[in-house]
C-alpha cells in the first residue's frame, strides 16, 4: 500500500559537485527536495521505490554516478550507474543524513502509455508493506527562449495541468496528461507521475507543494502526497 510519495525534479545542477560555483544559487530548490524526502522518510515506511524515466522499462540496478556529466571520478565509483532520474532520487536518499529503509529502483520509458504507467504503479504499491515512492521527474523543458527546447507556447498550460494535479493529489488528472505532448515538450516527469497516480489508486492523500518554478526554462515541482490514515 502506498503510504507516502515525494516528487522531485531531476536537473543535474541539483548536485553541487556538478553545478560547481553556481551550486549556492539553487540551494533553495535543493533544500525543498530534501524537505520533501524527509517527510517521505517520516511516514514509517517499509521500503522506498525510486521511480524515474529510463531508456528501458523495469527494475534498475546501480547507483548514482556523476562522471557521465563530466565530473571527475570519485575514489569509489559504482560499478553500474543509474539513469539520471532514478540517480537523482538515489542521491537524495543516500545524502539524506538519516537511516533509510530498503530501496528499489524502477525505470519507465518516455513512451510508456498512461494506463501502463498506472498499472506499474499499482503493481509496485500492491503489497502488504507500507510502500513509499520517490518520484523523479520534471515538467516541460520549453518554458523560455533560452530553455533546452526553446519556448513552446503550449508548455505553460501542460505544466499548469500537471502542477494542479500534483497540488490536488488528483490521480485521475495526472493520468490525463498526454504522453505524446509530454514527450514533445521534453517533460521527463510525465511517466513517473503517472506511475504515482496508479500507485495512489482511489485512496485519499494530503498533498503539499514545496517548490514549483521554471528558473532555467525547465519546470521543477517538489512536494509530497501523504496518505490520510484513519486513526
Amino acid at each position: 500500500m502506498l503510504v507516502a510519495a515525494a516528487f522531485v525534479p531531476t536537473p543535474p545542477l541539483l548536485v553541487p559537485e556538478i553545478a560547481g560555483g553556481s551550486a549556492a544559487a539553487d540551494e533553495e530548490l535543493r533544500q525543498a527536495c530534501r524537505a520533501a524526502v524527509a517527510r517521505l522518510l517520516d511516514a514509517d515506511v517499509d521500503h522506498v521505490v525510486i521511480v524515474g524515466q529510463a531508456p528501458e522499462d523495469g527494475t534498475l540496478d546501480g547507483s548514482w554516478d556523476w562522471r557521465r556529466f563530466g565530473v571527475e571520478a570519485p575514489a569509489s565509483a559504482p560499478a553500474r550507474s543509474l539513469p539520471l532520474g532514478p540517480a537523482i532520487g538515489d542521491w537524495l536518499l543516500a545524502t539524506a543524513g538519516r537511516p533509510i529503509p530498503a530501496v528499489r529502483h524502477h525505470g519507465v520509458t518516455v513512451a510508456l502509455p498512461a494506463q501502463a504507467c498506472a498499472a506499474r504503479g499499482r503493481e509496485l504499491a500492491g503489497t502488504r508493506d507500507r510502500v513509499a515512492l520517490l518520484v523523479c521527474g520534471d515538467g516541460s523543458a520549453c518554458r523560455s527562449e533560452k530553455a533546452p527546447g526553446s519556448l513552446d507556447p503550449s508548455a505553460a498550460a501542460w505544466d499548469d495541468a500537471a502542477l494542479a494535479a500534483l497540488r490536488d493529489a488528483d490521480a485521475a488528472a495526472l493520468l490525463r496528461l498526454d504522453p505524446m505532448e509530454g514527450a514533445r515538450l521534453m517533460a521527463a516527469g510525465r511517466a513517473p507521475w503517472q506511475v504515482l497516480a496508479g500507485a495512489a489508486g482511489p485512496g485519499a492523500f494530503e498533498a503539499a507543494i514545496d517548490w514549483a518554478d521554471a528558473p532555467y526554462g525547465v519546470m521543477y515541482v517538489v512536494g509530497t502526497w501523504l496518505r490520510k490514515e484513519s486513526a
Binding site: S22, G70, P148
Partner: protein, 287 residues
C-alpha cells in the same frame, strides 16, 4: 602535415586562424553586425589583413531560432562568397553549413571548404564536397539534431566518444571521395556537451591529435568559457585566448575565431615557443 582545399595549400607548420563572418541577424556574439553584405566584406578584409588564413561564412545561427530555409541560407551566403572570391582570390573560403544543397551552391561559386558543425546530418554532404575536391570539417555534436541545445547530456567518456565519432565521419568522407589532406576534425565545444564535457575535450585534445587527423577547435567566446568565468559573451576574450593557447600547445591546428588579430598574436607566441615560428624581431641582447 599539409592541408589542401581545392587549389589552396596551407602552411605545414604552426597554427591557422579561421575568421568567423556571420551573415545572420541573430548569432550569439555578433548579433547581426555583419548581416548586410558591405559590413561583412569589410569585416572579412580586416580579418585577412590581421592574418586569417581561412574565412568561414555562416548563414544560420547555431542555436534554436526562426527556421532558415535552404533557399534563404543560399541567399545569405552566396553573394558574399562570390564577392569575397573576387576581392581575395587566394584566401581559403569556408562555409558553415550542414546542408549538401547549400554546399553545392557555394562550392560552385568558389568556396574551398565546408564546415559542418552538426555531425553530418545530411548524408549527401561528403560526396558533394568530394565532387569539387574541396575540404570538409567533421564535427562532433553528440548526435543532436541541428540547432538544438544540449539537455542533460551524458557520456561514458566524452573524449572517447568524440574520437570514435570523428574518425568514423572522417573515414566516411574519404570513402565518399574527399582527399585525406582535405579533412579536419572538430570536437565541437558546447555542441551536445555541458561545460565540463567541453573542458574535458580540451584537456583531451592529445587523444584526438593522435588520430592523425588535423584538429580544428571552435572556442571563441563560447558558453563553456562563460561558465568557467561567469561572464557574458562580450567578456570572454581572455578566456578564449587562454583556451586557444592551451589547445595549440596540445596540438590543435586550426582555430575558429571572432577576434582575429588577438587570436593570431596569441598563436604566434605559442608557435614560437613550440619552435614552429621564428622571431619577427631578433635584436634583444644581440646588438
Amino acid at each position: 602535415m599539409t592541408l589542401a582545399f581545392r587549389d589552396k595549400v596551407l602552411p605545414v607548420r604552426g597554427s591557422l586562424v579561421m575568421a568567423i563572418v556571420n551573415r545572420t541577424p541573430d548569432s550569439f556574439y555578433d548579433r547581426g553586425r555583419t548581416y548586410a553584405l558591405e559590413p561583412a566584406l569589410e569585416h572579412a578584409d580586416l580579418a585577412v589583413e590581421a592574418g586569417a588564413h581561412i574565412v568561414d561564412i555562416g548563414g544560420v545561427k547555431a542555436g534554436p531560432g526562426p527556421e532558415v530555409t535552404t533557399a534563404e541560407e543560399v541567399d545569405r551566403v552566396l553573394p558574399f562568397v562570390e564577392a569575397l572570391r573576387t576581392r581575395h582570390p587566394r584566401i581559403v573560403i569556408s562555409v558553415d553549413t550542414y546542408r549538401a544543397a547549400v554546399a553545392d551552391a557555394v562550392l560552385r561559386a568558389g568556396a574551398d571548404l565546408i564546415n559542418d558543425a552538426w555531425q553530418c546530418p545530411d548524408p549527401e554532404l561528403p560526396s558533394v564536397v568530394a565532387s569539387y575536391d574541396a575540404g570538409l570539417v567533421c564535427t562532433h555534436a553528440g548526435g543532436q539534431s541541428p540547432r538544438t541545445r544540449p539537455h542533460r547530456v551524458e557520456y561514458d567518456d566524452v573524449v572517447d566518444d568524440v574520437e570514435t565519432v570523428l574518425c568514423r565521419l572522417a573515414e566516411a568522407a574519404v570513402a565518399a571521395g574527399v582527399r585525406r589532406a582535405s579533412i579536419l576534425i572538430d570536437p565541437g565545444h558546447d555542441f551536445g556537451k555541458n561545460s565540463r564535457h567541453s573542458l574535458a575535450v580540451t584537456s583531451g585534445l592529445p587523444q584526438l591529435v593522435a588520430t592523425g587527423w588535423p584538429v580544428l577547435v571552435a572556442l571563441s567566446r563560447k558558453s563553456f568559457l562563460g561558465e568557467v568565468l561567469d561572464v557574458p559573451a562580450d567578456d570572454r576574450l581572455e578566456g578564449t585566448l587562454a583556451a586557444t593557447a592551451v589547445s595549440a600547445w596540445l596540438g590543435a591546428r586550426v582555430f575558429r575565431a571572432h577576434d582575429v588579430a588577438a587570436t593570431v598574436r596569441a598563436l604566434r607566441v605559442v608557435d614560437a615557443i613550440a619552435g614552429n615560428r621564428d622571431l619577427a624581431v631578433g635584436r634583444r641582447g644581440l646588438a
